[in-house]
């Protein structure tokens, strides 16, 4: 259970001297230690986090202002480059990689006084929906140790629900924040594409990658997004943030139109989940929102489009891991070609190789038009359909996932089945809109996630809706 106070209160207590940052960090490190059987974390950052905490306490003693996250411990998915521990992206090829610089998101959080205490497990290079593709180990679901926490930010989702830290960072390329949030019962926010800098996060698919928080409540998600977001001179795809704080979430449900996505509520959706979502929608309606069913006809193509564009970009982004400058380098290679082949053969896991192969294939001359170009065409169509839908409704709603957390090993022998886990989350990445997963009851004791989406740059409104929904349940 996450029994940390809301983040703003923690920071206030540190800033006022009531609570010591050092004690918060020690507490977080102890919880991480105690929960080690869940394998949420790849590495602890003991020395640096305690140093930073001591420094912050010292600053407080001398009356200096710290910031909105003063002394708040957090965990980052291990694809964020950060000081204090290796950055591996849960891959063998980056084992032992000591980052020479930090991700912009980490820098921004640290500037407000947050303290990174550990790096969370993930599917290697964020390729997956369960953390089973981690080159190291699988993280266990906090609600049922025989089940996966979702992925790829599974370590982050588990960490928040195990209460290791008040918040964790994830990355979402096709649902990798929302799915673990849904499977673990956390709030997981994928912001508008470009709202949070990608600089210093190991790239998966550059046109889809979004960085965001996993928290135990919507208010915390708003605060973390408020700190992380904004234009970054190190990432040309970033956009200006909203001039109103993402902590101002009081939007009111009256007059808001929510479109329930028809394609997400049909066959293939678990009956219990469908009932949960329906209840959630009914509650929103009772509270004053207008509910409409809405159809996005190209949505059934989204997964196919995603599994062309994503591997295409993955195959390109993983080219740099060639064993020549950093990371794993095969020592038994006689020639340059051998060195490339052996380093990548041994350094990459099966899923990374699978995506490199698919991506290389769809970008090859002769196949480019049939696959990559066609996928981009459908992606544009999807964007147009979302834009049209958002002329009719303020928000879209549906489940985050067609199922609750599945058993460890259940899908590992069938990559296609694993890919289907992302069926309801990939569209938001292809279209670039913000999407959030908020807890929405349970099914057989396992958390269910409600997925809400809003037009691009309406992140604050989206958080506002999520907050209103959260308030209905508490």
């Amino acid at each position: 259970m996450n029994n940390w106070p809301v983040i703003a209160d923690i920071a206030k207590d540190v800033e006022s001297g009531k609570v010591k940052a050092v004690d918060l960090v020690k507490e977080a490190l102890k919880r991480i230690e105690d929960a080690s059987e869940y394998k949420a974390v790849i590495a602890n950052i003991k020395v640096r986090s305690l140093e930073r905490a001591g420094y912050i306490d010292e600053q407080v003693r001398t009356g200096k202002k710290i910031g909105r996250l003063a002394g708040v411990p957090f965990i980052a998915k291990d694809n964020y480059l950060a000081f204090g521990a290796d950055t591996t992206a849960a891959s063998n090829i980056l084992k032992g990689f000591d980052a020479p610089y930090q991700a912009t998101a980490i820098e921004k959080l640290e500037a407000e006084g947050a303290i990174l205490v550990a790096k969370a497990n993930l599917d290697a290079f964020a390729h997956g929906s369960s953390t089973e593709n981690s080159d190291y180990f699988t993280t266990l679901n906090p609600h049922d140790k025989t089940r996966v926490p979702g992925g790829s930010s599974g370590g982050s989702g588990a960490a928040v629900i195990l209460g290791l830290v008040p918040f964790a960072l994830g990355s979402d390329t096709g649902g990798s924040i929302r799915l673990p949030a849904s499977f673990c019962g956390a709030v997981g926010m994928k912001p508008t594409y470009g709202l949070v800098s990608r600089s210093g996060v190991v790239a998966m698919a550059s046109s889809l990658d979004c960085m965001g928080p996993l928290t135990s409540n919507v208010t915390d998600a708003g605060l973390i997004l408020d700190v992380m977001s904004g234009r970054d001179p190190l990432d040309s795809t970033t956009i200006e943030r909203d001039y109103i704080s993402y902590t101002k979430l009081d939007i009111g449900l009256k007059g808001k139109i929510i479109g329930v996505i028809k394609e997400y509520m049909g066959d293939g959706l678990d009956g219990n989940i469908k009932a949960n979502i329906q209840t959630a929608i009914n509650n929103l309606e009772t509270a004053g929102a207008t509910i409409k069913e809405i159809s996005l006809p190209s949505l059934p193509l989204a997964l196919a489009v995603y599994y062309i564009i994503c591997p295409a970009e993955v195959s390109s982004n993983l080219s740099r891991y060639d064993g020549q400058r950093y990371g794993y380098s095969a020592k038994d290679a006689d020639t340059l070609d051998d060195s490339y082949e052996l380093s990548r053969e041994k350094g990459f896991g099966a899923e990374a190789k699978r995506r490199i192969m698919i991506g290389t294939y769809v970008l090859s001359s002769g196949y480019y038009d049939a696959y990559y170009n066609k996928a981009q065409t459908v992606r544009t169509k999807l964007i147009n359909e979302f834009q049209a839908a958002f002329k009719e409704v303020d928000f879209l709603a549906g489940p985050t996932s067609p199922s609750t957390a599945f058993k460890i090993g259940e899908n590992t022998s069938d990559p296609l089945k694993m890919y289907l886990t992302d069926i309801m989350t990939v569209a938001a990445n292809l279209v670039g809109v913000p999407a959030i997963s908020v807890p929405c009851g349970t099914s057989d004791g396992l958390p269910v996630g409600l997925q809400l989406m809003a037009p691009q740059q309406k992140d604050r409104d989206l958080l506002g809706l999520a907050k209103a929904f959260e308030d209905l349940n508490t």
Binding site: L81, T87, A89, L94, F97, A99, P100, Y101, A103, R198, S199, G200, V201, V202, A203, A205, S206, S207, P233, L234, D235, S236, T237, A312, E313, S315, S316, L318, S319, R320, D322, Q324, R325, Y326, L336, Y340, T360, L363, S364, S365, Y368, Y372
Partner: protein, 477 residues
């Protein structure tokens, strides 16, 4: 062999004149730097590093477009070109494939006085790779990433050249255009311009199989490599053999091209739009600001030189020194064409020789240009002979001192005072009565001898024109 017609197209990588790299805030001047000192996480392709476009490049590409007789594209974008090589840190090069920043354009050249227009296909922006060296006998190679990410614009011509001379003229004019448009430092020695030449030969209208000889970094090697390829390919065809479509290199010591890579080994580069970089959108206002601030281009200077009365070989010599060219044009504005022409004669004659011999450099000429003008006016005003002027030239241009003072100190000022000269002339006539008599009898040529004697007697200080006139007067011819 001579019956084959050669067809040549040229791709040239021009290094853009920026302080920092194309996508990273790291110094671009690798000339004197130790290996791998001008690098950042971006140049190294570290995980999570992202390219951010250097805005200066857009300005330089826009200038390049105008220099090449066209305008930049309002919309262009970057693509990734994939291949593995240790000096390519990301495993792909960021280039422009589908929509380059420049489409079309042309270069006007002149071969043996005949004008020829070479059309351009396109020009695109891309980042340079690092530098690999393979130490002799070692079982390793070395990579220097200082150059990785240096901004280049690759200018691609249509295959419209048919001889090495045409290709050389094209390369030289491209050099001048990039220099005058201030797009590049065009330092050939440091590889600021690298030419790839595509050559094929054929007896018919149908083009033959072409080879591409890469990385030529001098006009001479462009010319030599093309000549070599034309002969090599023609010989092969004469022997009934096939030309292989391949990439070749140029061995400057052996003056030969050699096979590097055949078409079968050619990469599938898997181009696709770089998702890390938004498209380049240039607005019309920016384009017209650059258009209105374009520096003078070579053709405009050629017209000015023609007005001054310089011949084309003088004009071409001057064009390679833009500052000197500017100076000559300024002199024509301030002192008129006659002085400007005299200056140009000096510059392209004696001064050029001194520079080539290492006795002067162009910067000294520019620094002391006022003294040079004064020196020319001393000659024009008959105070100094051309020969004497040459004698003081180096002193004048290295010290910047007053040329008259130098000439006086060396006792070189011409004697133009008639009464002083008449005394010398009378003495020479009485010493050379036979010659004087010949002149009186109409053998005018003999005057030269008498003038020479007077010059000798005056230790070279007499003004020969005045001496000649006085002799004629005294001898009544």
């Amino acid at each position: 062999m001579s019956s084959y017609k050669a067809t040549i197209g040229i791709e040239c990588h021009v290094q853009l004149k920026t302080a920092t790299k194309l996508f990273a805030a790291v110094s671009n001047d690798a000339r004197a730097a130790e290996p791998n000192t001008l690098i950042s996480h971006i140049c190294m392709g570290m995980p999570g590093s992202l390219p951010v476009l250097n805005g200066k490049v857009i300005e330089l590409a826009t200038k390049a477009a105008f220099a090449l007789g066209t305008r930049p594209q309002a919309f262009s974008k970057f693509d990734r070109k994939h291949y593995f090589y240790p000096d390519l840190p990301k495993g792909y090069q960021i280039s422009q494939f589908e929509q380059p920043i420049i489409l079309g354009g042309h270069i006007n050249t002149s071969v043996e006085g005949k004008p020829k227009r070479i059309n351009l296909t396109r020009a695109h922006l891309e980042e340079d790779a690092g530098k690999s060296t393979h130490p002799e006998g070692a079982n390793y190679s070395l990579v220097d990433l200082n150059r990785a990410g240096t901004p280049l614009i690759e200018i691609v011509s249509e295959p419209e050249m048919h001889s090495a001379a045409e290709a050389k003229a094209y390369a030289q004019e491209l050099y001048l255009l990039m220099k005058y448009a201030d797009v590049s430092d065009v330092d050939l020695y440091h590889g600021n311009m690298r030419f790839d030449v595509n050559v094929s030969v054929s007896k018919t209208e149908k083009l033959g199989t072409r080879t591409e000889t890469k990385n030529l970094n001098s006009f001479r090697s462009v010319e030599k490599a093309i000549d070599y390829e034309i002969v090599r390919q023609s010989d092969l065809l004469d022997k009934g053999k096939e030309i292989l479509q391949e990439t070749r290199g140029w061995d400057d010591t052996k003056q030969k091209t050699y096979s590097q890579r055949s078409k079968e080994d050619s990469h599938d580069y898997r181009y696709f739009p770089d998702p890390d970089l938004p498209p380049i959108v240039i607005d019309e206002k920016f384009i017209s600001v650059i258009e209105n601030s374009m520096p003078q281009l070579p053709d405009e200077l050629r017209r000015q030189f023609e007005k001054i009365g310089l011949d084309s070989s003088q004009a071409e010599t001057l064009l390679y020194e833009p500052e000197i060219s500017k100076f000559v044009v300024e002199i024509s504005d301030s002192h008129g064409n006659k002085t400007a022409k005299t200056i140009a004669n000096w510059v392209t004659g004696e001064i050029q020789h001194l520079v080539v011999d290492g006795k002067l450099d162009w910067q000294q000429v520019l620094t002391n240009s006022k003294s040079l003008v004064k020196l020319v006016s001393l000659v024009d005003g008959n105070l100094l002979s051309s020969t004497a002027a040459k004698e003081v030239l180096v002193d004048v241009l290295t010290t910047g001192s007053d040329p008259q003072a130098i000439a006086e100190s060396k006792n070189l000022i011409q004697e133009s005072d008639e009464s002083a000269l008449i005394m010398i002339i009378e003495q020479v006539i009485s010493d050379n009565q036979k010659a004087a008599e010949d002149v009186r009898n109409g053998e005018i040529k003999v005057i030269g001898f008498l003038v020479g004697q007077v010059m000798k007697a005056s230790q070279g200080k007499a003004n020969p024109t005045i001496v000649q006139n006085l002799i004629k007067k005294l001898l009544g011819v």
